[in-house]
Symmetry: none
Subunit: 147 residues, 2 copies
DNA sequence: CTTTTTGACTTTCTCTGACTTTCAACATAT
DNA sequence: ATATGTTGAAAGTCAGAGAAAGTCAAAAAG
């Protein structure tokens, strides 16, 4: 079996504890596998591309490291699923419930939550009941699509 | 973990009581972390730059010290200024112009831009002309307040 | 030919210490 | 009493050493 495949597998196993980001040290890992450090770069650039669902960051210098994040696209699936299930109308209360769900599933961050909430709040819309819930549904779904 | 990161964190924790300015003594801090004093300068110059929202002053000599102030960059002032100058109504075109200004001044990022735009677009609001521009103005201003 | 492996060279970030500058307090001379 | 000099206690600067990671092209393997 190829070195690269072994290293790939090793790195992927690091995600097994359920964390969505792991950190490695290039030299340390290279030493562990008895290969040159740049082999690690090779593995990362061929096996942990964005198109494969990973996002990579790094820092050089003393205490430097490489961080690999798993970007789960279940997020998008989940959002699409929600959007499909939101009808033509949405109350402010519905929005609150959805937002707190999203937050607890890490679908959105707190800033996005605030924006969603404020853009769809009764005070901001200030429309008649029948219009309000319809406009709110449209704004909410369209914003979600862009998160 | 790097020395610099630890010192950075320590200093940032000093702000935790809500104060917007803290004072340290370079030598004392260096001693506390068992590093050379100039390491403190390094941390300050790399982690407490104006672009990161901090303003630093110091005094040498007996009883000298370093003061670090948290400055809310004029980003907020600018946003407030804009909000005040937006009237009761706002067209989709106005929004486009404002958004591209914000982007070029780094007041918002592209994601926020998308959310602002989508939440205020004609297609999403789908309201009569007179209502539309009023609702749009309210949504836009309130979202801006939360960015 | 394509993918993998290797290593020489580069870039970035951190840490350190020697040397410099500034300030306040105290001392001395006019 | 005022001005000047001295000293010690800070903080500042800067360049070099060290610690990672990045790049790229040649060699090797498949």
């Amino acid at each position: 079996m190829r070195m690269s495949d072994i290293i790939e597998e090793f790195i992927k196993d690091l995600f097994d504890d359920g964390s969505d980001a792991i950190e490695i040290q290039r030299n340390e890992l290279a030493e562990h596998f008895n290969c040159v450090p740049s082999q690690i770069n090779y593995v990362i650039s061929t096996r942990f591309k964005p198109s494969q669902g990973y996002y990579v960051e790094s820092r050089r210098g003393g205490g430097g490291h490489i961080t690999i994040k798993k970007v789960n696209n279940d997020k998008e699936d989940y959002i699409m699923h929600i959007i499909k299930n939101i009808g033509d109308e949405l109350t402010a209360n519905d929005v609150d419930i959805l937002i707190s769900d999203f937050l607890s599933y890490d679908i959105i961050d707190t800033k996005e939550a605030k924006l969603l909430k404020v853009a769809t709040s009764d005070n901001v819309l200030k429309l008649s009941k029948d219009l309000k819930d319809k406009v709110r549904a449209r704004i909410f779904k369209n914003m979600l699509l862009n998160i």
